[in-house]
């Protein structure tokens, strides 16, 4: 091994260490940003070391350098622009889009290794896996991002024979992969393999409802990690192997945690056919039970004289971008000595922790945000629970067997002394069932858009307390 090569390998080792330590620092909000920056430092080191390797080998033609630089600049500018411009509510689809290009890149890296019919099986096996997983992730992530953005219907798209088509695609892909691994290679087999994997990615994600998309995105993220690790085997590059495996493992864990928070098995999610993502337009009505509608003034009186208020934000708040309006109301209440905390269900918003990000955007300190267990300990002591656009995660029906959300962990909002629900209509959540919280005698329904409703509440509280 030449000196340069040794130095480069040590740099890769240091970069991998930065990735591990960086992820470790993301254990707490206080050090998370430092962790991310350490990870960035690792990435810069890995890229710099690779540049040194390329310059040292001298294999790169002038045109090659131009192509490399042009690709890096175009990609960086596009990524930077997208990351800066996108609103926080659209974060999940952006993450999915970045995941798509990562998977695409991983698949493309392996293609030159597969096309010539030479090389050992130890290269061809990971190369074939890389193309399959990478292409599948690329197509699947694009469909997932499209669903969240509303470009592709959020409802499960099912057509007769979908399973047969999926099965056929899998068989075609497996045959092409087998041919390639045996070394009979050729561009045609690579093209068939990539096309089958792309189509399979679309066929897998289309039947899954928008509400399950976060879990799917996390799973696809794990897949990209695995594809990157495979690319590491192909190019015999340790930093790709380590970073890819890290992402593959962490993505798998996140996926499992998210599926558990929604009380859905991964298999059920992947089989699809459930969850539309946006529940506002479901059949209205509440089975005839009376609903008590309140005005902003009534609700403001309750809030103004409460000692403890627990806010339960949900997707309705995120959709209306009402996090700043919420913070304003909380500030007015806090100024009166009311203790305001936020009860956050793991799947509130569009991704686990997405709601925390939205509230943080509105300057709400993370120490005021309570996770499920802490929130459920606090709710029975609360004078008022203020539910803003959360539906299924507050439905007491989850405690009973025999319905769509049975067994799902919920926030025990019905145990607070009084409940105010800000919601546009009696429409259903994505589980499509009545929420009996709304017909509870101690619940007042404030029918309004989250942002308008919260602004009205704030104004009313201010008038009350002069």
């Amino acid at each position: 091994m030449s000196t340069v090569e040794t130095v480069v390998r040590l740099a890769y080792l240091a970069a991998a260490t930065c990735f591990v330590l960086g992820l470790h620092l993301m254990n707490t909000p206080a050090t998370a940003r430092r962790g991310n920056r350490l990870s960035i430092a690792g990435m810069l080191l890995a890229v710099a070391a690779t540049l040194v390797l390329l310059v040292d080998s001298g294999d790169t033609s002038p045109a090659g350098w131009i192509v490399l630089a042009a690709g890096a600049v175009v990609g960086s500018v596009a990524g930077l622009w997208a990351a800066r411009a996108v609103p926080m509510t659209a974060m999940p689809q952006l993450v999915s889009l970045f995941n798509a290009v990562g998977g695409g890149a991983a698949a493309l890296v392996a293609i030159p290794e597969l096309a010539p019919p030479a090389d050992a099986a130890s290269v061809r096996v990971p190369a074939a896996l890389d193309v399959v997983i990478g292409a599948l992730t690329f197509a699947g992530s694009l469909v997932a991002a499209g669903k969240l953005q509303g470009l592709v219907p959020g409802r499960p798209v099912l057509f007769p024979g979908a399973r047969v088509v999926g099965g056929a695609l899998a068989v075609i892909g497996a045959v092409a992969a087998g041919v390639l691994v045996r070394g009979y290679g050729g561009g045609a087999a690579v093209a068939v393999l990539a096309a089958a994997a792309l189509a399979l990615g679309v066929a897998l994600v289309l039947p899954i409802g928008g509400a399950d998309m976060p879990v799917v995105i996390s799973l696809l993220n794990a897949c990209t990690g695995t594809a990157v690790a495979m690319a590491g085997f192909v190019t015999d590059n340790s930093v790709l192997v380590v970073a890819g495996a890290l992402v593959g493992a962490s993505g798998a864990i996140l996926t499992a945690l998210m599926a558990a928070a929604m009380n859905r098995s991964l298999a059920a999610i992947l089989l699809g056919g459930y969850g539309t993502g946006d529940g506002a337009s479901g059949p209205s009505g509440s089975g005839g039970a009376p609903v008590r509608a309140v005005t902003a003034d009534d609700a403001a009186i309750q809030l103004a004289y409460a000692r403890r208020v627990v806010v339960v934000p949900g997707y309705g708040l995120a959709a209306a971008q009402a996090q700043h309006a919420l913070h304003e109301l909380a500030t007015v209440l806090s100024a009166r000595g009311t203790e305001v905390t936020y009860a956050i269900h793991p799947v509130a918003g569009r991704m686990p922790g997405h709601m925390n990000v939205l509230l943080a955007e509105a300057n709400i300190p993370y120490s005021d945000m309570q996770e499920l267990d802490a929130a459920n300990a606090a709710l029975p002591l609360a004078d008022v629970a203020l539910v803003v656009g959360a539906n299924d995660v507050t439905n007491p029906a989850a405690r009973r067997p025999g319905n769509a959300i049975s067994g799902m962990p919920i926030l025990d909002v019905d145990r607070a002394a009084a409940v105010i629900v800000v919601k546009r209509s009696m429409g259903h959540g994505y589980a499509g069932i009545d929420n009996e919280l709304y017909t509870d005698p101690k619940t007042g329904m404030l029918f309004a858009d989250a942002r308008a409703g919260l602004a009205a509440l704030t104004a009313a509280v201010k008038t009350l307390v002069g």
């Binding site: 993301m26 990609g75 997208a82 993450v95 970045f98 890149a105 590059n237 890290l246 593959g248």
Partner: protein, 97 residues
């Protein structure tokens, strides 16, 4: 199986275990930034993209090299910037009151 492949496999397996260990303890508050951060980390495929682009000889190679580096660079830069943007919003209680 060559010694080199065996060594790489060992690294792969150990990195998987480290990944499981490190993520299991992260609170739900940070799950979205974490997903975004790991998303940025797999952008390290940029290293592979550079290796592919650097040995290009034909026009098709150059086209492939351009697309693969652009994709990977977008993944890296976008992923890290958006994660940093999210994490920058998390404030300690003292700072915001």
């Amino acid at each position: 199986m060559s010694a080199e492949l065996l060594a790489t496999l060992s690294i792969f397996l150990l990195a998987l275990l480290v990944g499981f260990e490190v993520i299991g303890k992260v609170p739900a508050t940070l799950h979205t930034p974490l997903m975004s951060a790991t998303n940025a980390i797999h952008g390290v495929i940029l290293v592979g993209a550079m290796l592919v682009a650097s040995v290009a000889e034909t026009t098709a190679d150059y086209a492939l090299g351009f697309v693969v580096t652009a994709f990977a660079a977008m993944n890296v830069v976008g992923g890290y910037v958006v994660t940093d943007r999210m994490l920058g919003m998390f404030r300690a209680p003292e700072a915001s009151r």
